[in-house]
Amino acid sequence: MEFTFLIENKPVTVFLEKKDGLYYYTQKDGEAVEVDIRTISPNVFSILIEGVSHRIYLTKDGEKYYSCCNGRHFVFLGSSGDDDEAFTRGEDRSLEDMLIVKAPMPGKIIQINVEKGQQVRKNQTLAIVEAMKMENEIKAGVEAVVKKILVKNGDLVDPEKVLIELEALDNT
C-alpha cells in the first residue's frame, strides 16, 4: 500500500506491505527492503532495518502527525488518499500565507502598529500579542500593503485567528 506524507515540506512516499508476517518497504524505484517494525507501547514504535535500530514516537491529531525520531521532533501531514489538497497547499502556501497574518498563539492584542493602506516592509512589526506574560511581535513576512485590520487593542485572539490581511505589492 502506498502512503505519502508531507514532512518538512517534502512529500515522502513509501510503499509498505506485509508478506508472510514480515513487512517490506519500497521507496521510489528501489528494491523492497525488509523492515522489522513493532508497536512497543502506545505512541512508540521500534524499527530495525538491516540491523540498525530506530525508536519512533508518533501521535496524531487530526491530519497532523507529531513525531520524534533519533532525537529530532517533527510535525507533519498525512494524506488519506482522498485529501491531497493539503499537500498542494503545503508546498505553495508560503506567499499566500504571508499575506494572511494570523495570531500564532492564543493571547491578547496589546498594540497594532500599522494602519489600513500603509505599505510595510518585510519583518516590520504589525502588531504585538501578549501571551504567557511575554510580548510577541507579529511581523510581516513579505513586503506588502495593509488591506484589512480585523482586530483591535485588547482583543483576545485564538490561534490561527486572522489579524491583518495584506496585499501583495503590484511590482512583486
Binding site: V14, D61, N136
Partner: protein, 501 residues
C-alpha cells in the same frame, strides 16, 4: 520544623518544593487556579485548594486568598517559589502580619533589594562595584533621555521591580529609547504590577555570573559558589552552569566574598542570589539580588550536594544555618537547560495546548524537574516553562555530552518546545569551548531553523506512520481488524482502549 506549609506556586517549582517538604515530613497545601485543576502540583500535594480563576492576578497573585487559605488549612508557612509573589514585599509583609512564616527574606530587606535603585545606592555605599546608571526612577519620561545621554548609549532599560528578563530592553541610540521605554513599562506593569523602569549602562557581551547565598535569621551566611547564566535569549536565561569557565579560584573567592558583603549590606536572610556582570577584562559589577529561589538553583545543588529548598525550610523555621563555608566545595560540573513551550522555529512564540506524549529523560547524572505529563494541558496564562533538565558529570565536557544524550532521550509531542533548539546549542563548538557570553545566542542562533536532519529520518518516520495507517486501515475495513484488536495486549492498557465499544 513546620508541620504544614502552603506552596503559592504552580508547575515544576511547586512540584519540586512539595518533594522537598515530603522528605522533611512536612504536609503540603497546593493552591490552584481554575485552569490548573488537573495540574501536577495539585496531584502531588497532600491538600489542594482552588483560589480563583485562571488569570494570575485572580489566583496565584491574589494575596488575600492565599493568606486566607493558609489560615484555613492551618499552614504555618508559605513558600512562594519563583515568579508570582516570590519577590513581592507586600505579600511578605502580609504573611508577617498574619503570623505566617514567609519562606524567603523579611519584607524589609526584600523591599530594599527589590528596588533596583535603592539597592544600587546601598551597594555603592558598601563599596560594591556597580554599573553606571540612574540613581532614581523618574516620573517624567523625557528625563530618561537626559539620563541616557549622561550614561552613554547603549543603555539598558530595566524594570525596577523586575526579574526574569521581563521589561528589559536595550536602546542603542536615542531613537530606540522611547519605544523601548514604552514596551518595558507595559511588560513591567503586566508582569509585576509596577511600571517603574530605570536605565543602566549596557555592557556589551558580558557574562552573567551569579552567586548563590544562604543566610539564617541570626546573621550567619555562606555562599555556594557561582552559576554562569550567560546563555540568554531576550534577556531570559535558557542555560545555566556551575562552575563558570570564566572564573579562576581567585576571582571565585573574591566574587563569593563580595556576594556575602552584599548580603550583609542588605540585611538579607534565607536563600538568595547575587547577580553580577563580568566584562571581558574580568571586572565584575553588582547587578541585583534575586530575593528568591532561582529557576537555576539545581546546578548549585548538584555541584555542592546541598539541597537549597531544605535549607530554605530550615532557615525559615528559625534554625541556625548548619553549613560552614569551609565545608562547602564544588565538585564536578552541572548544567541546566530550561524547556519552554515556545516555537524556536517561529520567533519563539509561545505554544500552548495539550502535551499528547511525554517521554522523560533518565540516566545516571540526569535530573528532570518537571511540571508536565502525558496528556496535560499547557495553559496560556502563565510562564511557558515546562520543565528543567539538569545533568551532573565529572567535568564540563562530559556534562555537555550527557546533556546532549539526555535531550536525545527526551520527547514532547503535541506542542512546540525548545528541545531541538537546545540540542543544537549544546552541539555548537563555541559552546563546547566555553565562549559563552550573553551575545552567544544572538550571534550564533539568530537565524536558527528546525533541521530535523536527514532524509533517513524522514524515511523512518514515514515508515512508522505508514505502519500505523496500515493497521488502522485493517481495522476500518474490518479485514483482520476486530480480531487483531481483540488479541492485542493493549486492550488491557487502561480505560481508553476499553472504551472502544
Amino acid at each position: 520544623m513546620f508541620q504544614k506549609i502552603l506552596i503559592a506556586n504552580r508547575g515544576e517549582i511547586a512540584v519540586r518544593i512539595i518533594r522537598a517538604c515530603r522528605e522533611l515530613e512536612i504536609t503540603t497545601v497546593a493552591v490552584y487556579s481554575e485552569a490548573d485543576r488537573d495540574s501536577l502540583h495539585v496531584q502531588v500535594a497532600d491538600e489542594a485548594v482552588c483560589i480563583g480563576p485562571a488569570p494570575a492576578q485572580d489566583s496565584y497573585l491574589a494575596m488575600d486568598r492565599i493568606i486566607e487559605t493558609a489560615k484555613k488549612t492551618g499552614a504555618e508557612a508559605v513558600h512562594p517559589g519563583y515568579g508570582f509573589l516570590a519577590e513581592n514585599p507586600e505579600f511578605a509583609r502580609l504573611c508577617e502580619d498574619s503570623e505566617i512564616v514567609f519562606i524567603g527574606p523579611a519584607s524589609q530587606s526584600m523591599e530594599l533589594v527589590g528596588d533596583k535603585i535603592r539597592s544600587r545606592q546601598t551597594m555603592e555605599k558598601a563599596d560594591i562595584p556597580i554599573i553606571p546608571g540612574m540613581k532614581e526612577v523618574h516620573k517624567n519620561i523625557a528625563d530618561y533621555a537626559n539620563e541616557a545621554k549622561k550614561i552613554g548609549y547603549p543603555v539598558m532599560i530595566k524594570a525596577s521591580a523586575g526579574g526574569g528578563g521581563k521589561g528589559m530592553r536595550i536602546a542603542y541610540n536615542a531613537d530606540e529609547l522611547m519605544p523601548g521605554l514604552e514596551a518595558g513599562k507595559r511588560e513591567a506593569k503586566s508582569a509585576f504590577g509596577n511600571d517603574s523602569v530605570y536605565l543602566e549602562k549596557y555592557i556589551e557581551e558580558p557574562r552573567h555570573v551569579e552567586v548563590q547565598i544562604l543566610a539564617d535569621n541570626f546573621g550567619n551566611t555562606v555562599h555556594l559558589f557561582e552559576r554562569e547564566c550567560s546563555i540568554q535569549r531576550r534577556h531570559q536565561k535558557i542555560i545555566e552552569e556551575s562552575p563558570s569557565v570564566a572564573l579562576d579560584p581567585d576571582l571565585r573567592y573574591i566574587m563569593g566574598e563580595t556576594a556575602l558583603k552584599v548580603v550583609k549590606a542588605a540585611g538579607y536572610n534565607n536563600a538568595g542570589t547575587v547577580e553580577f556582570l563580568l566584562d571581558k577584562n574580568r571586572n565584575f559589577y553588582f547587578l541585583e539580588v534575586n530575593a528568591r529561589l532561582q529557576v537555576e538553583h539545581p546546578v548549585t545543588e548538584l555541584v555542592t550536594g546541598i539541597d537549597l529548598v531544605h535549607q530554605q525550610l530550615h532557615v525559615a523555621a528559625g534554625e541556625k544555618l548548619a553549613l560552614k563555608q569551609s565545608d562547602l566545595k564544588q565538585k564536578g560540573h552541572a548544567i541546566e537547560c530550561r524547556i519552554y513551550a515556545e516555537d524556536p522555529d517561529n520567533q519563539f512564540l509561545p505554544s500552548s495546548g495539550r502535551v499528547l506524549y511525554l517521554k522523560e529523560p533518565h540516566g545516571p547524572g540526569v535530573r528532570h524537574d518537571c511540571g508536565i505529563f502525558s496528556g496535560c494541558e499547557v495553559p496560556i496564562y502563565y510562564d511557558p516553562i515546562l520543565a528543567k533538565l539538569i545533568v551532573w558529570a565529572g567535568d564540563r565536557d562530559m556534562a555537555i555530552r550527557r546533556m546532549s544524550e539526555a535531550l536525545n532521550d527526551y520527547v514532547i509531542l503535541g506542542i512546540k518546545t525548545t528541545l531541538d533548539f537546545l540540542k543544537d546549542v549544546f552541539a555548537h563548538p563555541e559552546f563546547k569551548n566555553g565562549s559563552t557570553t550573553t551575545a552567544f545566542i544572538s550571534r550564533y542562533f539568530d537565524d536558527w531553523s528546525e533541521r530535523s536532519g536527514s532524509e533517513e529520518n524522514r524515511k523512518i518516520v514515514a515508515i512508522a506512520a505508514a505502519y500505523d495507517s496500515l493497521q488502522n486501515v485493517h481495522i476500518r475495513t474490518g479485514k483482520h481488524g476486530e480480531q487483531e484488536l481483540e488479541t492485542s495486549p493493549w486492550l488491557t492498557l487502561g480505560k481508553w482502549r476499553m472504551g472502544r465499544g
